[in-house]
Symmetry: C2
DNA sequence: ACCTGAACACCGTTCAAGT
DNA sequence: ACCTGAACACCGTTCAAGT
């Protein structure tokens, strides 16, 4: 089926839509990483100029948010099997969310500043509210709790995943580890004394503890009490 | 005192040092914001070419970390007056840390990925360890707790301060608020039902609750228990 | 009315070549 | 040995001018 009235012999250039743009962005990201998903490269992949994208996407941040929402849609982060304890399921949902962000640290950085507002992100909120509700967390604590749970996971992903991918970030992290290990006893006595504890634990152990801390804190902390 | 053998009549160009570079960077940031503190502009302010900076600073991330460490040094985030309850003092230290980052959201974003490792950041770790110790938090919980406290404050600053400064980020946040407020009862029933709670609370109330949640969680959660 | 070429105003980082 | 000019390889966003 030849394109009618096409001026070039190139393959049919599909009409631009927001959906199409985001799909192409996700594909590009999976091939080359988010850092390479720039407005210019994305336009190139869509066989148009960068200016054209601004008809459908307000800016880079909004594009990133749209990408994340699309990825969340794929992941199916539902409430899970009621036979499994709610804490375990909630942990799994957060782990699924983090997994997406770990695969693309730059996306986590973006998500922290420009929160997605798409249907799948709302779905994630809904799932977390359901699980906290099931755990007997009062409505207000649950609502505020969802916020800090997601913030914590997003931050952990932004921080942690950079370690593996970005060589510069890895060096910065190593610098901190060494600074802690070699802290002077006279100026930083507690850091020195607790250096082993500060540097201990696998990422998985730290993660598990972090989620437990948040859930326990959310459960026992009544807003307005302080 | 004329510069000896100077080829130009310009004011004496001070020799480049890491200290001098970071000082100039802080000054430039306070005048124009971190976004404008680029390697090129910083070099210009130091009357040299961008390449020269790379003799003293490995990359932009390291520069940002050095800036933050310098700002922490100014802030004097000590353990405070022993007459005041430790929780109150710990809250104040975190507030001081957040205040620095709130004034420059981009710095918070950087700090999440490239943690500073300078003496003043170590000082902050030391202070937090001291306060948690004073509160009777066991050593391992304190060490891991410092990590999530700082991560949470950094993330909050990165997220929140963007709302005020960046017009784009503010719009994204508004989009999320509206999406929550208008959530469809059939697809996102809990978001709909708890929309009021999700959107409630002042930033200060949310912040206070967040710190309480973390402290309570850190106090009651034993690593390895889960 | 819709789309976009071309321009504006920048970036970080490297390295060969200078002093 | 130390420093840096100039280049490489890019950016996001806007808007006047086209169809």
């Amino acid at each position: 089926m030849p394109t009618p009235r096409s001026r070039r012999e190139r393959p049919a250039k599909p009409a631009l839509t927001r959906e199409g743009i985001v799909d192409t962005a996700v594909a590009l990201m999976e091939e080359e990483g988010l850092r390479r998903v720039t407005m210019r490269r994305l336009a190139q992949a869509l066989d148009t100029g960068p200016a054209s994208l601004y008809v459908y996407v307000a800016n880079t941040g909004e594009l990133h948010a749209a990408i994340l929402d699309r990825l969340l849609g794929r992941a199916d982060l539902g409430v899970g099997d009621a036979a499994v304890p709610w804490r375990t399921r909630l942990d799994a949902v957060l782990a699924g969310y983090e997994e997406i962000l770990f695969a693309n640290p730059a996306l986590a950085q973006s998500a922290l500043v420009a929160r997605p507002s798409g249907p799948h992100y709302l779905g994630l909120l809904d799932t977390l509210l359901a699980l906290l509700g099931e755990g007997g967390v009062p409505a207000l604590q649950a609502a505020w709790g969802v916020d800090i749970l997601l913030q914590s996971s997003t931050a952990a992903a932004a921080e942690h995943s950079a370690r593996g991918e970005d060589a510069d970030a890895a060096r910065d992290w190593d610098r901190l580890r060494r600074a802690v290990a070699e802290a002077a006893p006279d100026t930083h006595p507690r850091v020195r004394a607790q250096a082993a504890e500060l540097l201990s634990g696998t990422p998985a152990e730290r993660r598990r503890w972090r989620v437990e801390v948040l859930l326990n804190g959310i459960l026992v902390t009544h807003p307005g009490a302080a």
